[in-house]
Symmetry: C2
Subunit: 314 residues, 2 copies
């Protein structure tokens, strides 16, 4: 019953960036030992992940869960085919990261489209954040790194409500002008809906000729995969997700965060859209994370198992 | 940020049938007392539910959770605007139901498209089930009841894998010919994907001129709302769901069953598609069910709360 992407009007293949090792591990109450991180990352790569947000160079007193960023970068052995990304919050973070320049390929810089969210997140105005981000991009480009810019609350803000799409486009254009080859649009607290996604991505694509547009959805209200489908319809072919449904700053506590990689990959493959990722291998990584964390993770396919189209059970 | 259904290419309004009181209550390990059922149903109706699958006339020794079918039908006071449906497994069930003919409006009859699933479910061949269902429909129509036929495993069977869409259409045509005004297509174990949904509903609609086609999705692999979106795209404007994400025979244990009504209604309203249901009222009913059952229910919006577009938090 698996369709072909070509016959369904969907793309044949999309990019998937696995963000669990940064976004997921950062949000765990107990810091995951570096050796465990290495093992989980290697399972992800074995499953075929080729885009990986590995860690962030943030201050250890702010996010102790990622205090081992340099150690982790040194410890993981990844094939050349894997493009390793690190999240860079500021120039100081870039300074530390550049000491390990040969261990990663991309930087991800970020800011919010909403003033209130940006102030609560990094205690700065959007304009100040953008100026800092532009300096990071300039220096990262000079070091030969590929740059991705992420715009949080791009579909709505929990404090301000509506976020003006034209304002999001303006920030995105500034990121591209500064040197970002890729701009990611984050649905930070799960406020996006598919009609909105279908309406906004074409506008943003028009504003960003030549840029790669990436969709980063949360499943807070259960609409994560519906938004992925809507983004595919709107021409998006780059997605971010987190194995085991880890991370994504669940607010309120108990709410779902990031779209689960295994649920997204399962849907994409069932529709005939290739990802290059082996679903069983991805589930293996999620099960290993679950065993380490000692609590059931909430991705659906991890619980239900993948769809079996064979007649083996008959 | 809420869109208008009209401008998004989606319908302005859809029908939602709430199946929790039958499908959900039937799958609870502990039978819910009739008085609690009455209270929950009245909360649902207060929220604006106008299509309601209330119970089933099955043998009490087979499904003790619904042994109070007659008592429940007598006890609930529902406005005329609510179309009450009961699930009828066979002629004996219809005999009992007809003693309360003035207390409900519709019958729902069912069979599987897959031989193996049908045998495991009701210990009969599909042909034998269809013959029995046709007799029930004939007698129900004679009693002035509206008839809905539900085809389980319409998108895939956990035992047989692929289910031939032409075979599903054939069964659907037989149901319509026997007198069903509405045919529901059930994704019984969550094997449907959006590309398949977009491909199949137009074929089935062509085979069933004049019939109402209803989509009944499960969220087993997290694709429930993506399939709802795909069905909307394919012209479907009638859906079934269960408040609190109750029921839907979760297999394996722990897996998600039916699409949660509150998650579906939230997505529909955010897209500008009206349902006539008040989301807060629906959440109120789900919270009451959660309090009675004494365990957290897993619908997303129940955990996260509805989306707030106001600036009240700023």
């Amino acid at each position: 019953m698996t369709a072909s992407g070509a016959t369904s009007g969907l793309p044949d293949r999309v990019h998937v960036r696995e963000v669990g090792p940064r976004d997921g591990f950062q949000n765990e109450p107990e810091t995951i030992p570096t050796a465990v991180k290495v093992e989980l990352v290697q399972r992800l790569v074995k499953a075929g992940v080729t885009r990986l947000e590995l860690t962030s160079f943030v201050r250890a007193d702010v996010i102790p869960q990622l205090a081992d960023a340099a150690e982790l970068l040194r410890a993981v052995e990844l094939p050349d085919a894997v493009s390793v990304s690190v999240l860079i919050p500021n120039e100081r973070g870039l300074d530390v990261a550049l000491e390990l320049r040969d261990r990663f390929d991309e930087v991800n810089v970020f800011l919010s489209a909403s003033e209130t969210h940006n102030r609560k997140n990094v205690n700065r105005s959007v304009a100040d954040s953008l100026a800092g981000v532009e300096r990071v991009i300039g220096r990262a480009r000079a070091a030969g790194l590929r740059c991705q810019g992420t715009i949080a609350t791009a579909f709505g803000c929990p404090y301000e409500g509506r976020v003006e799409p034209a304002r999001v486009a303006e920030i995105a254009r500034a990121l591209q002008a500064a040197g970002c080859e890729e701009v990611a649009f984050g649905d930070t607290t799960g406020m996006a809906n598919p009609a909105q996604v279908r309406s906004l991505f074409p506008r943003w694509a028009e504003a960003l000729p030549g840029a790669e547009l990436t969709a980063h959805f949360h499943n807070t209200r259960g609409q994560g995969l519906a938004n992925v489908l809507a983004a595919l319809d709107a021409g998006v072919s780059s997605f971010e997700s987190s194995f085991g449904e880890l991370g994504g700053c669940p607010v309120p506590v108990g709410a779902t965060g990031n779209v689960a990689s295994e649920d997204m990959v399962s849907m994409l493959h069932e529709m005939g859209v290739e990802t290059g990722i082996d679903l069983d291998g991805l589930l293996d990584a999620a099960r290993a994370a679950q065993a380490h964390l000692g609590r059931p993770l909430s991705s659906h396919v991890l619980t239900s198992g993948p769809i079996e189209w064979s007649t083996a059970h008959a």
